[in-house]
């Protein structure tokens, strides 16, 4: 009890933020899993980090660029300065999604092969960017890049709340298009829906969501919560709405429990969140296997 009250006292936003991040990843994970492009989640988390690493190079003066676009003079703007990592993280993720969305047209490489190539490239350029970064030590930047649930403060919490709001809105308003194009894109096109455009829209949305969430909770947490809650939802849900509800509940409940466990047994929060979610997954899978 003492540990719980200590945790709530010290990290209130981290607890609430981890719940929001879990729900967001649960939602987005259903799309990624149903499209059988789970690896895209891993790629986007790495690409987002590479984008943040790129921002540390300061090759492009973000503030100057924004001001020059609006024809005004440069003054020190902390908001723009701090937006740089998020901007480049998003830019890298969006570019990756745009490239990936065009790859279905070619028949030379498998989608897995393309994603694998982007994955290792993202890791490699991240290391190279960090090595050439003029601002700090490599290990220091690595920590910043990877994000940590415990570093979630008020600003990060409200940002996650906004991401969740838009995720729920998009998945609700465009549920018709989402279900038809993910179920059978070819028929959706034949029946008059622009499947290519809708899929691009959903991929971009998921890319932006993953990129922003990764910044706050780290790549390990983001990727794990893209897969595990949605997989548990698919394992247990007998209706589509049940899959969503289960993924959301798992995404919401497991992160604070894992934070408690990490705090209690002195582990890093991200890996503990993954280990806890995986334990639940294993348990459910086992029960399902025995019962069927």
């Amino acid at each position: 009890m003492n540990t719980i009250s200590q945790l709530i006292e010290l990290f209130p936003y981290a607890i609430m933020g981890s719940v929001l991040a879990g729900i967001i990843c649960g939602f987005l994970g259903i799309f990624v899993t149903s499209q059988r492009v789970v690896f895209l989640g891993a790629v986007l988390t790495q690409v987002s980090i590479a984008g943040v690493a790129f921002s540390f190079l300061h090759l492009i003066n973000f503030e100057k660029l924004i001001y020059s676009l609006f024809g005004t003079t440069v003054t020190e703007n902390s908001f723009l300065h701090h937006s740089e990592p998020a901007f480049f993280s998003l830019l890298f993720a969006v570019l990756t999604v745009l490239v990936f969305s065009q790859t279905y047209k070619q028949k030379f490489l498998t989608q897995d092969g393309i994603l694998g190539t982007i994955f290792v490239l993202a890791i490699a350029i991240r290391i190279m960017f960090i090595q050439k970064s003029p601002v700090a030590e490599v290990s220091e930047i690595e920590t910043i890049l990877k994000g940590d649930i415990l570093f979630i403060g008020a600003k990060e919490f409200y940002t996650l709340l906004i991401i969740l709001f838009f995720t729920v809105i998009v998945f609700t308003i465009f549920s018709k298009q989402l279900s038809f194009v993910t179920f059978d894109a070819e028929s959706a096109s034949a029946h008059g829906l622009n499947s290519q455009l809708w899929l691009l829209f959903f991929y971009l949305f998921v890319g932006v969501g993953i990129s922003l969430t990764t910044r706050f909770v780290g790549d390990v947490f983001a990727f794990a919560y893209l897969i595990i809650p949605s997989s548990i939802g698919i394992l247990l849900g007998r209706r589509l709405w049940q899959v969503f509800v289960i993924a959301i509940i798992v995404g919401a409940i497991i992160p604070p429990i894992s934070l408690y466990l990490a705090f209690r047994f002195d582990f890093s929060s991200g890996p503990m969140a993954v280990a806890t979610a995986f334990t639940l997954f294993l348990l459910i899978y086992g029960v399902k296997k025995i019962s069927t």
């Binding site: 259903i30 899993t33 149903s34 059988r36 308003i173 018709k176 298009q177 279900s179 038809f180 993910t182 179920f183 059978d184 070819e186 028929s187 959706a188 096109s189 034949a190 029946h191 008059g192 829906l193 698919i234 849900g237 007998r238 209706r239 589509l240 049940q242 899959v243």
Partner: protein
């Protein structure tokens, strides 16, 4: 003579620079029942996609009246991970007719139920699509295509991989939909005898060979030899076409 609804003039089909067949001239009339047959890779699905508008013709012109297509894809390409019910799947057919922010209403629900009944799977409406047999899945996809309230129903290899009873019962259903609902039906198959015995017109396809017309005009041993590069014997027994390989006949 029924109304012309689609006209292909000197059309070439294919992907990118790869022309599969050129010089296609074809007119589809209202209430036609057309079978498209040919060996694997002959361009059957490419022709379908061109008719649907998913692929642009590489050359030539396609004149279409304002048409609504109901499309039934090859069953194997639809392998959902998510647990959609039969009702959910059929309702998808209505989605394409709705505006961006419009949601299924009473009429849509009635149409979906009517389509489920017309293909004989109303009792399965709450079942998970993934739990269905091949024949039931195919009926679900047909019901979804009917939910569009189409003028033309297009089916791509509808009987592929089915057991014999499901196979013939599905062909009966397709024929019934054409006869009772006066639908224009285009069916693609690599099973020549299936198509020859239920459709009224036939399109024979092979790379750079295209022959279309009434069954009795097109279904000749000469045309089959050109299509399949093999000799066939076409006979009629009890008003049904029986197509056998001459090679087999020589053996017996």
């Amino acid at each position: 003579m029924n109304k012309e609804i689609v006209k292909l003039k000197d059309v070439s089909i294919g992907y990118g620079k790869n022309v599969i067949i050129s010089g296609i001239n074809l007119t589809i009339y209202d209430n036609d029942f057309i079978g498209i047959v040919g060996p694997n890779g002959a361009g059957k699905t490419t022709l379908l996609k061109t008719l649907l508008g998913s692929l642009k013709p590489l050359a030539g012109k396609i004149e279409k009246a304002s048409l609504r297509f109901g499309y039934v894809p090859q069953r194997d390409i639809v392998q959902p991970l998510l647990p959609y019910t039969v009702y959910d799947v059929v309702m998808m057919g209505r989605f394409s007719l709705m505006k961006l922010f419009q949601y299924p209403g009473k009429t849509d629900k009635e149409i979906v139920e009517e389509c489920l009944k017309s293909v004989g799977i109303y009792f399965l409406r709450h079942n998970n699509y993934n739990s269905l047999s091949g024949g039931q899945r195919q009926r679900t996809l047909i019901a979804r295509a009917l939910a569009v309230k189409p003028q033309i129903l297009i089916l791509d290899e509808p009987t592929n991989g089915m057991d014999t009873p499901s196979h013939y019962s599905l062909l009966d259903l397709i024929k019934e939909l054409h006869d009772n609902q006066k639908l224009t039906v285009i069916i693609v198959s690599h099973l020549l005898s299936d198509v020859a015995n239920i459709t009224k017109k036939l399109i024979l396809l092979e790379r750079n060979f295209f022959q279309a017309g009434d069954i009795e005009d097109v279904l000749s041993e000469e045309n089959l030899r050109k299509t399949y590069s093999s000799n066939f014997l076409v006979t009629k027994v009890d008003e049904e076409y029986v197509i056998t390989s001459k090679h087999k006949e020589q053996q017996t």
